[in-house]
């Protein structure tokens, strides 16, 4: 079981790398779906091992909200954006940012290392560093990408990373917290999605990276 969980963790990091480095917007969205599926799978595995109903609920919520509803919503709201402009501009070129992302993974591990010494559960040893790496990589994607939607995907990756770490530490989170977290993410996605659409209508582009200054009219 730990083997499968480790595999989920490895692939999770890979999808996070993809969200940092992939050029196609549509591809990034698909990767996000894959990432959410991996998160749900990990929660499922942990739930099965700890016999915890809460983790099954988390897996279900993630599956419905993140792997299905948010991508569908973004796809609906921003379908023009997805198909008209297929390539994402980056502040750094792809190879450099991927190398930095690999460095961030190492940093993530050393950040959580003191905690790992205290942890005896093998699942924590896997999920905590991977989740931390997810958080850092998501933040990095927000910083390095210049389009609105990939930045949103960066935020969602951070959230996924936090969940990935969280499910291993707190195996019986109150249901209310889970629901609140899921709902929060949904609201973020809706707001950013609508805002992006609005920006696109007004300015004609979603390259938020170049909108550094305010303009008076």
């Amino acid at each position: 079981m730990t083997q499968f969980n480790a595999l989920m963790g490895g692939l999770f990091i890979l999808t996070a790398f993809g969200i940092v480095g992939l050029r196609q917007i549509l591809g990034s969205l698909r990767l996000f779906v894959a990432q959410s599926l991996l998160l749900a799978a990990s929660a499922f595995i942990l739930g099965a091992t700890h016999a915890s109903v809460h983790l099954f609920v988390v897996a279900g919520i993630v599956l419905v909200v993140k792997a299905f509803f948010i991508p569908w919503l973004l796809y609906r709201v921003l379908s023009h954006e997805l198909h008209a402009k297929r390539e994402i501009e980056q502040a750094l070129d792809v190879t450099t940012s991927l190398l930095l992302a690999a460095g961030l993974t190492v940093i993530a591990y050393f950040l959580v290392n003191p905690l790992l010494i205290a942890a005896s559960d093998p699942f924590i040893r896997i999920n905590l560093p991977v989740g931390m790496a997810g958080v850092l990589l998501g933040a990095y994607a927000v910083a390095v990408r210049r389009e609105a939607l990939p930045q949103l995907l960066g935020i969602l990756t951070m959230e996924n990373g936090a969940f990935f770490a969280g499910i291993s530490i707190a195996s019986d989170l109150p249901l209310l917290t889970e629901l609140a977290a899921a709902f929060d993410v949904l609201i973020i996605a809706v707001v950013v999605g609508l805002l992006t659409r609005r920006i696109h209508k007004q300015v004609g582009t979603t390259l938020v990276g170049v909108m550094a200054r305010l303009k008076e009219e």
Binding site: A6, G9, G10, T95, A102
Partner: protein, 318 residues
Amino acid sequence: MGEKIFFNLIQLLVVMVFSPLIKGIIDRLKEMVQSKRGPSILQPYRDIWKLFHKDEVVSEQSSWIFRFTPYVCFTAPMFVSLLIPVLTDYPLFFAFMADMLGGGFVLALAGFFATLAAVDTGNPYGPMGASRTRMVGFLAEPVFMIVFFTVSFVAGSTIPYIVQKVWITPLANFFEPSHVLVMLAFLMLILAENGRIPVDNPSGHFELAMIDESKGLECSGRAAALMKWGGCMKFFVLLCIFLNVLVTPWGLASSGSVWEVLLAVPLILFKMILFIVVLVMIESSLAKLRLYRITEFMGAAFITCVAALLLQLLEIQG
């Protein structure tokens, strides 16, 4: 002892005989996906046969390198096929001659000579393609190295026979994240090294866009046949390493009986055909990358296997 040499020679023979068949199947399947009938799967054999019976034209300007290269390109994959597990899961007579790194170097030698020969003739398309191949090659090199480092780090050895056992004993090792990521990285490497679609279009006939094919443009007659056959064998050998060492280390002969070794031949062909179906799906659903995007493709492969190495190093495993 004598038995092991015999099996090793059978292995070599299998690589030589069946490699054009694999190429023929790929070509046929690709055409079928595009709703065409496509050439017979035996077409590569006919091509090679035909080329062997044609006159050879060699430019007066070229040096001995140009005449020597086809033989290097033909023998290098043969050498490598002696080192790797094609039919048996225990080391054969020549297996300890070199490890996987050594095999990589032998293949790189063939690539080096092919590049020199392409520059040698003075045909403008040759050097262009050769320099592009070098570009892809030096981008692929670090990936190759990291894949080997990861593999040898996990298995404690770079001899493919030992590595192959480590992945499946116990079976849970197969799902080790570093193993899966190394598999992915190696897949991307195979696509790049053999000029398959996201990097290069193997069936393209437009010289300006060629990467891998244009090296052999000047070759004719026997030289062309040897280059073609050598290319098929290189692909076959890389597939063997990929399938028998990394992906499906099952179905190999484990005892010294001749029948079991012979039974391993259809099994390896079956595995290859399964993989080819996947390959054709990849090739048919992707577009060729622009030349300067190849760096990003190889960067992705590099980061995938660096991630594998990191996961192994940081003990994120089951």
